[in-house]
């Protein structure tokens, strides 16, 4: 009899398990119509790719639902995942249409506008006629963007959620679909705040811009000289509204997707736009409200390798590829005035570097002699 009981028990257990499975499936936050979570809900799902990098394919459906892309289907971005295992996966392309209707035009939404703008910016690939060298160095969408969790604006009056709740309650008064209203509210207010703190922005930008070899390939120098400025001291202490990279390179009225070279009149740091950038009148905080043209035309980062090469304070050799490439650009980028400024500043520094040890050395020696003399005379007296 035992085997029969066992069969019944197993069947019942399996039935219950399946039943619970459907119950759980119903309660899932995300309507998984593509059935991707069938596999991707397991946290241990992942592998090491050919280059040895650990890839995690787990999807936390609750978190995904709250993310900026939470309303999208998986295949809207991940094209070509029809086969199992997914041998035909294509890289995510943000310019594809993602089957969501953009309400203002009622057309299918895509990030193509942004990408087109971005390609003409300093970070883009350049034009087809004039592509940029070393395209593998250039950042793509995913280098800066993650699928962030939407969060509403808080902190206007403290860090309380009360503001959001009260405003949202007003929306729901007319837009009775609570989920829709909440999602719309989040979509809107998520963009009213900075998603990254100043140190996070600096970390993001310097992940490339402090790589001096990578920068030299494009005729640029490491931006580590930013950390010699007063701006950095404010960031270091976590001062609210402290100036980070985007405060000057993407001030109010500019977009991160359209950062341009300082020689481009459309750049926020072009001489023509500097006064507005430094004074930042339209921003949350006007930084240097009375900025004069003279103030605003100077160099903000401390002088780096490029200026030193142009001034002949550093010599680039053929073997030294990094500096040699920089030297080519330095001759164009660094003006005669800047070379003069660097030389004067270096001279002052040199003066103090010699003067301080001399003076302090004399003082220490003199006082040491005085101390010795006093000790010796005391001994004699005894």
């Amino acid at each position: 009899m035992r085997p029969i009981y066992f069969k019944y028990l197993t069947f019942t257990a399996l039935f219950l398990l399946l039943h619970f499975g459907t119950v759980f499936a119903d309660s899932e936050v995300l309507p998984d119509t593509e059935n991707c979570l069938y596999c991707h809900r397991y946290p241990s799902m992942g592998r090491y790719d050919e280059s040895g990098v650990k890839r995690i394919f787990y999807v936390n459906d609750e978190k995904f639902a709250r993310s900026v892309h939470g309303k999208l289907k998986c295949k809207s971005c991940h094209a070509g995942v029809d086969k199992i295992p997914h041998t035909d996966v294509k890289k995510v392309d943000c310019t594809t249409k993602c089957h969501i209707r953009e309400p203002s035009t009622d057309k299918e939404f895509s990030h193509i506008n942004m990408v087109q703008k971005y390609e003409t910016s300093v970070h883009g690939n350049g034009s087809k006629e004039k592509p940029k060298p070393f395209p593998e160095d250039l950042p793509t969408c995913k280098d800066c963007h993650e699928n962030r969790i939407q969060s509403s604006v808080t902190g206007l009056w403290g860090k309380s959620e009360a503001l959001s709740n009260e405003t949202l309650a007003r929306c729901i008064g007319c837009h009775t679909q609570k989920d829709w209203a909440q999602n719309f509210y989040l979509h809107f207010t998520h963009r009213m705040r900075r998603t990254r703190s100043q140190p996070e922005i600096i970390k993001l930008c310097t992940s490339c811009h402090e790589d001096s070899q990578k920068m030299a390939r494009h005729g640029l120098e490491s931006v580590s000289t930013f950390k010699d400025t007063f701006h950095w001291s404010l960031v270091k202490y976590g001062v609210k509204n402290a100036p980070d990279c985007i405060s000057c390179h993407v001030p109010v009225g500019y977009t991160t997707h359209d950062i341009r070279s300082r020689t481009d009149p459309m750049s926020s740091i072009h001489t023509l736009n500097r006064i507005d950038t430094c004074s930042n009148q339209g921003g949350m905080q006007s930084c240097h409200p009375g900025a004069t043209a003279e103030f605003a035309t100077g160099r903000v980062h401390a002088y780096g390798t490029k200026a030193q090469l142009a001034a002949g304070m550093k010599v680039a050799t053929f073997e030294d590829h990094e500096n040699f490439r920089l030297l080519e650009r330095a001759e164009v980028d660094i003006s005669k005035d800047e070379i003069f400024h660097l030389k004067v500043l270096s001279l002052i520094q040199l003066f103090y570097k010699v003067f301080i040890p001399l003076v302090i050395g004399f003082m220490a020696y003199h006082q040491w002699l005085d101390w010795l003399k006093i000790i010796r005379t005391r001994k004699k007296r005894r």
């Binding site: 007063f230 001291s233 404010l234 270091k236 202490y237 976590g238 001062v239 609210k240 430094c278 240097h288 409200p289 009375g290 900025a291 004069t292 003279e294 103030f295 035309t297 100077g298 160099r299 903000v300 400024h341 004067v344 500043l345 002052i348 520094q349 103090y352 003067f355 301080i356 003076v359 302090i360 003082m363 220490a364 003199h366 006082q367 002699l369 005085d370 101390w371 010795l372 003399k373 006093i374 000790i375 005391r378």
Partner: protein
């Protein structure tokens, strides 16, 4: 030297007979000078601490966490307040030097003379054991004069460059850069100089250790006066007018 020793003895005797209460003290700093020194010292220490806070490495600053912003804002405010007060005290000091009799005496005694150079060489020879006796110092010796000169130059430079950085938007970036470099380097120089030159004199010097209290009391006793400033001592003892100014009798 024997003559001077006898002279000292005689003077001591006279001074003792002159002072029925016994001990006499010699004024090194009058009330105004003590207050000026006190304010200047507090400002200096505040400026050094709040200034060098900018140079603290990132790793240490991050330990402040969310308090960092408040710390920075208080730091900035204190630095500006201390800087302003220091400038005001310095301006008052100039006024004091010109318009007050005690100030004019200070200025006159502080003027560099050929004797100071002689004293410097003489004192060094004394340290090396070439000369048996140190030179006789007046009210201010070459050490004081050098420090006072450095203080004037340093204060002017720090105040000027500090004010430039405070009103940064009015200047060209080149001027601000120069001001920043000078302000930073001069700060290192001033802090080290105070630590080595000045603090030795009042804290480390064997007979002054652990602290010379003249900055609070304003006076030193007769023995110290004779040892440190013998020339000034003689001048005072020879001139009743100077005695009125510089001698304080112990009240019982």
């Amino acid at each position: 030297m024997k003559d001077t020793a006898i002279a000292f003895q005689q003077e001591e005797e006279t001074s003792e007979t002159d002072s029925p209460t016994g001990k006499i003290y010699f004024v090194r700093l009058n009330y105004s000078e003590k207050v000026q020194h006190m304010i200047f010292m507090i400002c200096f220490v505040t400026l050094v601490i709040t200034g060098f806070m900018l140079k603290v490495p990132e790793g240490i600053v991050q330990k402040l966490g969310s308090a960092g912003e408040a710390v920075f804002l208080i730091r900035s405010l204190l630095h500006r307040i201390a800087g302003t007060v220091m400038i005001l005290v310095s301006v008052y000091h100039v006024y004091y030097l010109i318009f007050k009799p005690a100030g004019r005496r200070w200025l006159f005694d502080m003027l560099p003379r050929f004797k100071d150079l002689n004293d410097l060489v003489g004192n060094c020879l004394y340290y090396f054991g070439v000369k048996k006796e140190p030179p006789e110092f007046d009210r201010f010796c070459y050490k004081h004069k050098m420090e006072y000169g450095a203080l004037i130059a340093g204060t002017i430079l720090m105040a000027a460059t500090g004010l430039i950085m405070w009103t940064e938007y009015r200047w060209s970036k080149f001027i601000i850069d120069i001001a920043t470099v000078v302000h930073g380097m001069e700060a290192i120089l001033a802090s080290l100089a105070i630590m080595i030159w000045h603090l030795y004199e009042i804290h480390l010097k064997p007979r002054k250790s652990p602290i010379d209290d003249a900055w609070i009391t304003g006076v030193i006793d007769e023995e110290e006066m004779k040892e440190e400033y013998p020339l000034h001592y003689k001048k005072i003892m020879a001139d009743p007018k100077l005695q009125e100014i510089y001698i304080k009798r112990e009240t019982q």
